[in-house]
Amino acid sequence: MNLTLYVWRQKGPKDMGKLEQYEAPNVSPDQSFLEMLDDVNEVLIKTGKDPIAFDHDCREGICGMCSQVINGRPHGGQDRTTVCQLHMRSFKDGDSIYIEPWKAKAFPIVRDLVVDRAAMDTIMNSGGYTSCHTGGVPDANSVMIGKPEADYAMDAAECIGCGACIAGCPNSSAMLFTSNKVAQLAALPQGRIEAKARVKAMTETLKECGFGNCTNHYECQSSCPKGIDVKFIAKLNREYIKSLLP
């Protein structure tokens, strides 16, 4: 099939960006979206033009590196699918595809579709851990954890940190991302000890990094390539309220 692409091109963080039009001829339905972009880039390189820069790494939907808003939806909007797992069979011959980078003030554009997501690390640095030392911990089976609690923690921990929740959010809020870690650790006895300090520190950092506030649009959940539930934001809110109590 043949497609027309409108791709966001921007040289650097301070430059003005704009959408540019490209043709993607002879696309196979078995190709992944990134392989289609690879082909477009091969042509650009051979004609001496700068290829489209985009982040990608594992190409199996787990590293969280790929980050494109495709036709107005982060990762293309297919249920539980990252860009790298999006296949061209979900497009039709003659389609126009708009490809844009994550847009949020906290994510400055590095080049084209590549953004700087260091702010998400900053949130994690502020408390996304249990303060256990290497070594000197009890036997793994000495603290029992019920299967429902373990499963709940795992549901939250599936976050791949791609930032789609932020890109999709009308407020550019990182609340779902933050809540995943808060909820995961709050659900486990190991993480309970620091739960109060964690939720305060992480939500404060979220604000300092320039992310917006959560106003319960739930757009994050529908943008998340892992389908992570906004119930974890409710959990974060509960943990925050608990942190206010003596």
Partner: protein, 638 residues
């Protein structure tokens, strides 16, 4: 030269404890004066940087991704081994040790493997304390699953995302140290040279991938935890950015590359669908717990849909050939068996390069619901890529390059032959021998990072004065100039072929000649083609843009340039090793029924190669392997 692994002597059960006691310590007050450079932030690097930072060292960590959390350890699915013996099925440290040595086809160092088995239990404790949500049973205890190459259930798992959860655990420990300012992170930074001063590793030269700036970093020790090199095959299960570059730069500066020919081809990957393919997707080996591998008995049935091949016309080849391990035979054996069937023209799917992995029997036995619970995410992933529903029709799988057992040579302390240069995880060669068992990579990465390097690095650091050599030393400028020179050269060629075109070509040469089955003829052919391609690369590659900006083409070109040198060494090592063992299969050396045949008399050693320059013969150094606790035996899974 005969290399010495500096393994502790005496009874193996006490070897690590004894060694730990004998090693020297750094005074706590002096630790912060030592600067350690950690390259790579996967399981080994992330865990190592966090643990060293916590001890009080001044750690600088580097990764090429935009965050430490994205290292490719994250993609490991199945699980992590430990000798906990929670299921009471007669597991022990000794059994894990034995299984790993045997699984590695008797080509690993006993002492290293013992240490790995011993600390495996601490790893599980550590991860649980970090809040890693391992699978639990209804009583609240940790759950185990079985895995290839073992007859006990010792694999701990977190759904199909164990690697992710363990990496996020290590990453969170790293975050804590970044907050405590003991670790400084340098993301989107790629190591492009090792700085060696008077024969000692003293720093690295890196490129800031965002700005293109070349930076020098000095350190009292340099630790490489930069993963494996199977992207030399172009199509592999590794991430697109995985490369041999950091390790190869160290090799160019004198570090020995050991056993590069030991590459693991993973049996359960999704087959290639066409020429456009950029990478292969692995599906956890745990799939083989319930799936049955088969191909049609007759060639003419291969074109038919699987459902129309009658039960008696199916060849469950793994169960036929290996009745006691069946579908759980180790990876190298399962991969080669799949290749054999396809070479026999009985493969299925596009290009007939695939075998079936069938769940019909398991679904009939335990129900679709249970199968969904166990492998739901894998089935989902399979459907996304192939558009086929594996609950209704068998999956198609085919082997793909997955892991490299070989790597930089290190002694028992994880230090290479270049003093001050340590190598951890997949980047070193130490514990997996010629073949790695499933769920052991995560174990090794974390063992090296949490429980080995924190002890062994101190033993080295006490011998150096902190900050004696800094980036003011002329070697740093020399190294930076060399790196800039290479970059300018790559940008000035302005040829006709793109980097990925040439990488694909290299991959084809490697896969066809140095892949799952190697022969003298194929390896000689590869050794003709690789230098020719390398020559063409330096004349005809096209890299657009400049070096002073974010330039992914340039990054890839540099990585390919290293693969083009390294690939030749891999083939040379494979040609020199006139035996079959584990992942290295020489067609000249096989038993009558096609099993690998080792030559313990002549090849019971680790081959460590010293790079002497491009187009020059590398020098072979041997480290003899002694087996005092397990008997060298023919590895049989029948």
């Amino acid at each position: 030269m005969i290399l010495d692994g500096k393994c502790p002597t005496g009874p193996i059960e006490k070897s690590w404890d004894k060694h730990r006691f004998e090693m020297k310590l750094v005074n706590p007050a002096n630790k912060r004066k030592y600067k350690i450079l950690m390259v790579g932030t996967g399981l080994a690097g992330g865990a190592g940087a966090a643990s060293l930072g916590e001890l009080g060292y001044n750690v600088h960590a580097f990764c090429y991704q935009d965050s430490a959390r994205r290292a490719h350890s994250i993609a490991a699915q199945g699980g992590i081994n430990a000798a906990k013996n929670y299921p009471n099925d007669a597991d022990s440290i000794y059994r894990l040790f034995y299984d790993t040595i045997k699984g590695g086809d008797f080509r690993a160092r006993e002492a290293d493997v013992w240490r790995l088995s011993q600390v495996s239990n601490n790893i599980i404790d550590q991860c649980v304390a970090q809040g890693v949500p391992f699978a639990r049973d209804y009583a609240g205890y940790l759950d185990n699953r079985s895995f290839g190459g073992a007859q006990v259930s010792r694999t701990f798992y977190a759904r199909g995302q164990t690697g992710q959860q363990l990496l996020l655990g290590a990453y969170s420990a790293l975050c804590r140290q970044v907050k405590a300012k003991t670790v400084t992170m340098h993301a989107r930074t790629e190591m492009l040279d090792l700085v060696v001063v008077d024969g000692v590793a003293k720093g690295i030269t890196v490129r800031n991938l965002t700005t293109g700036q070349i930076e020098s970093h000095w350190g009292d020790a340099v630790v490489l935890a930069t993963g494996g090199y199977v992207n030399v095959f172009y199509l592999s299960t590794n991430a697109m950015g995985c490369s041999v570059t950091a390790a190869w730069k160290a090799a160019q500066k004198g570090a020995y590359m050991a056993n590069p020919c030991y590459t693991q081809i993973h049996p359960t990957c999704i087959p290639q669908s066409g020429e456009h393919q950029s990478k292969l997707t692995l599906m956890s080996e745990s799939l083989r717990n319930d799936g049955r591998c088969w191909v049609p008995k007759r060639k003419e049935d291969c074109e038919k849909p699987a459902s129309q091949v009658a039960e008696e016309d199916r060849d469950y080849y793994l169960e036929r050939k290996y009745p006691s391990f069946g579908n759980l035979a180790p990876r190298d054996i399962a991969s080669r068996a799949a290749k054999e069937q396809c070479d026999d023209d009985r493969g299925v799917g596009p290009g007939k390069r695939g075998v079936y992995l069938d769940y019909a029997a398991a679904i009939a036995r335990v129900g679709e619901h249970t199968i969904k619970e166990r492998y739901g995410n894998l089935f989902e992933m399979y459907e996304k890529i192939t558009d086929e529903n594996a609950y209704k029709q068998p999956m198609r799988i085919y082997p793909a390059p997955h892991y490299s057992m070989g790597g930089l040579w290190v002694d028992y302390n994880c230090m290479s032959n270049v003093p001050g240069l340590f190598v951890l995880g997949e980047a070193n060669f130490s514990v997996h021998g010629a073949n790695r068992l499933g769920a052991s990579a995560l174990m090794q990465g974390l063992a090296d990072g949490y429980f080995v390097i924190p002890y062994t690095i101190a033993n080295y650091l006490v011998t150096v004065k902190p900050g004696q050599v800094t980036d003011a030393h002329p070697e740093f400028k020399k190294s930076a100039d060399e790196v800039k020179g290479t970059i300018n050269k790559l940008l000035s060629i302005n040829g006709k072929k793109t980097v990925s075109e040439m990488h694909r070509e290299l991959g084809k040469i490697m896969w066809n000649n140095v892949g799952m089955a190697r022969s003298k003829q194929s390896l000689t052919e590869a050794l003709k083609q690789i230098p020719a391609l390398r020559e063409e690369f330096w004349k005809n590659v096209k890299v657009t843009g400049s070096g002073d900006e974010f330039n992914q083409q340039l990054e890839n070109a540099g990585r390919l340039a290293d693969f083009l040198e390294f690939g030749e060494l891999l083939a040379k090592d494979a040609l020199h090793r006139e035996e079959s063992c584990g992942g290295h299969f020489r067609v000249e050396h096989q038993t009558d029924d096609g099993e690998a045949m080792r030559d313990d008399e002549n090849f019971c050693y680790a081959a460590a190669w010293e790079f002497k320059g491009v187009n020059k013969e590398p020098e072979l150094h041997k480290e003899p392997l002694k087996f005092e606790n397990v008997h060298l035996a023919v590895r049989s899974y029948k």
